[in-house]
């Protein structure tokens, strides 16, 4: 944060176009990677077995959410096409992987891309109306997709695996080692979260991503410079749904079970909240949003359990907490839309630009 950009002279375009052109930024990323690599043993050492499993499980859920939020941000934040069906694409990925894993006994490195590709295929179909309709109307069309996919999964036993609409999947195995504990799953999920982050950063700074942003900012001008809008909207839907499908697969392996109840419309809205609170059209914002929205219910529960007893009995409290969670959620989305539409990412940038010239004001 306390770094200056002056004094680094780039002599090639390649150096200028690097993801992290400044040495200090490369160091920061290096340190972050190191922290994430040593986190599980460190947490275990500090808190002991069971508590550590709990803490690491929270980080695991966040990493899954990061993948999904990145995918939705590519579609909504970068391309400007709204979707309320993101969770449905996750369920497509989840059930594709679960069926492949159970019926054909395929390992995760087959089921994971298969789930993503299946979701991408469905996403392209759902994206077709986006050529004709925009904004609210597209939102309703994707909402219809969410409900139709939910219904199909729930009512076709061949997909859903029977009356409970849930399929238990075997644990993922790497080099013969079965990933059972949260600690083992941590590295598995970290790997995919990092790949998703890097891939997104690269997509949005290259030809495809620029075309997405062009469509968002000025679709007429985008077309006039030779971008086939329909094609690129469908590509955006495909990429976004691929991410969603992978998220669904990761979540299924994380839980050990594919269940459509994890991918209802409320989940779609959770993900929309992540990218709105985090920052539309920002990779860092997607990460911030995923962390924030995942932690919020946990923090509210902790807070209510600590201080709520002053006002309510325990039984009352158990009824109140879900309501508080929902209202806090709604309130926060409104607050962000009104006060900081560009989200947490903007707040972070403000802090950075303040310290950029610190101790001077400009």
């Amino acid at each position: 944060m306390f770094h200056r950009e002056s004094g680094y002279f780039k002599t090639t375009y390649m150096a200028d176009m690097a993801l992290y052109p400044l040495p200090i930024a490369r160091w920061t990323v290096g340190v972050l990677v190191a922290v994430f690599l040593v986190m599980p043993p460190l947490v275990t050492g500090l808190t002991g077995g069971i508590a550590a499993e709990y803490y690491i499980s929270i980080v695991n859920i966040i990493m899954i959410a990061v993948v999904g939020a990145l995918g939705l941000n590519i579609l909504v934040g970068y391309t400007g096409q709204i979707s309320i069906g993101h969770a449905a694409f996750m369920s497509v990925g989840a059930y594709t992987a679960a069926n492949l894993a159970v019926k054909l006994d395929l390992p995760f490195w087959v089921t994971l891309p298969a789930g993503g590709i299946m979701a991408a295929a469905i996403g392209v179909v759902v994206g077709i109306p986006s050529l004709r309709i925009k904004g609210l109307y597209l939102a309703i069309a994707t909402l219809a997709a969410q409900l139709i996919i939910e219904w199909i999964i729930n009512h076709v036993p061949w997909i859903s695996g029977g009356s409970q609409a849930s399929i238990e999947v075997p644990r993922p195995t790497i080099f013969g080692m079965e990933l059972r504990t949260q600690r083992e799953l941590y590295y598995f999920l970290l790997f995919f979260a990092v790949i998703a982050i890097i891939a997104t950063l690269n997509i949005v700074r290259s030809r495809i991503g620029r075309a997405f942003i062009a469509i968002r900012d000025q679709d007429i001008a985008a077309e006039i410079i030779g971008i086939d809008i329909f094609r690129y909207k469908l590509i955006a839907f495909a990429i976004s749904s691929f991410y969603a499908g992978v998220t669904g697969v990761l979540y299924t392996y994380y839980l050990g079970i594919a269940n459509y109840e994890n991918f209802l419309i409320t989940t779609s809205i959770d993900y929309l909240a992540m990218i709105i609170i985090g920052g539309l059209g920002s990779v860092l914002g997607s990460i911030f949003g995923a962390i924030f929205v995942t932690l919020l219910p946990i923090v509210i529960r902790l807070f209510m359990e600590s201080f709520g007893t002053l006002l309510f009995t325990t039984a009352e409290l158990n009824n109140i907490i879900p309501a508080v969670r929902l209202s806090a959620f709604g309130l926060l989305i409104i607050v962000f839309l009104v006060l900081e539409p560009e989200g947490l990412n903007r707040l972070w940038r403000n802090v950075r630009s303040y310290f950029r010239v610190w101790p001077f004001s400009y």
Binding site: T12, R207, I235
Partner: protein, 272 residues
């Protein structure tokens, strides 16, 4: 070859863009009626006319936004009448807009890079990797964009978001984005609209340089008659959707129909 010969030559070159008898109706309003136009390769052709004459509608038909009800548009002899705008762009026609249409969330450089879109190939997977061919392609096209940045003197602005730029600069960036496409024909819809005298002179110089150095044929819509008469090889006058005159700037200025419809007449003057 003397300058006079060059100029005479410019008007006689084979047409690169031909518009044959195009018409366009919106409901009961005839925006453009049976307009024909030959644009010689390498020339600067201006389309003038009072407000609502159908100039922008004509440009919209050439660039593929409107499909003409009748008539035919051809680029280098190939019919482009029914192509979509993105396909027209890929064939080599770039344009700017009367109301600037830049991508305001992107930097000047990224706006220019978008102009290179049709010349680039990188797909989704290569983009995600940003390695090898994809990276080399980015660098190669970055170099072309830097040439345009130098040409239009935008060096200090390349990493600025276009939304934050002044009006005149945004017009210049929009011209840059169109030039980045390396078009055969450049359609400019009022590039000098809303500019002060200095900015107009700069813009006229850039248009002339693009035409002379980069060999780009220019079709210009402009209200500033001084600029039009100075830089055009050929002027076409529209009024209420119809073509009422055409020729060299001198011929057009002497044409009585044009004077009556456009510049105001002795009769109009008498009434005033």
């Amino acid at each position: 070859m003397s300058a006079a010969e060059t100029l005479a030559e410019r008007g006689r070159a084979a047409p690169i863009l031909t518009v044959e008898g195009v018409s366009k109706k919106f409901g009961g309003v005839t925006a453009v009626h049976d307009v024909s136009l030959d644009v010689p390769a390498g020339a600067i052709v201006s389309v003038i006319g009072p407000n609502g004459a159908g100039k922008t509608s004509l440009l919209n038909m050439v660039s593929g936004f409107y499909r003409p009800d009748t008539g035919r548009i051809a680029l280098e002899g190939h019919d482009i009448t029914s192509l979509r705008p993105s396909q027209v762009a890929a064939r080599g026609i770039a344009r700017t807009f009367q109301n600037i249409a830049l991508f305001s969330g992107l930097t000047v450089l990224d706006n220019l890079m978008l102009g290179r879109h049709v010349h680039m190939q990188t797909g989704v997977l290569a983009s995600a990797l940003y390695w090898g061919p994809a990276l080399r392609e980015e660098v190669a096209h970055r170099e072309r964009c830097e040439e345009i940045i130098d040409f239009l003197k935008l060096q200090d602005l390349r990493k600025q978001q276009t939304g934050a730029l002044s009006y005149g600069l945004r017009k210049r960036v929009e011209l840059g984005r169109a030039l980045a496409l390396e078009p055969k024909v450049l359609l400019l819809d009022e590039p000098m609209g809303g500019m002060n005298q200095d900015e107009k002179e700069d813009m006229a110089r850039y248009v002339l340089d693009a035409n002379l150095e980069r060999k780009i044929t220019v079709v210009l819509i402009e209200h500033d008659m001084g600029v039009v008469m100075d830089i055009s090889d050929h002027v076409v006058v529209l009024d209420r959707g119809r073509r009422i005159g055409a020729g060299t700037p001198e011929e057009v200025q002497r044409n009585p129909d044009v004077i009556q419809a456009y510049l105001g007449t002795s009769r109009g003057g008498a009434q005033a």
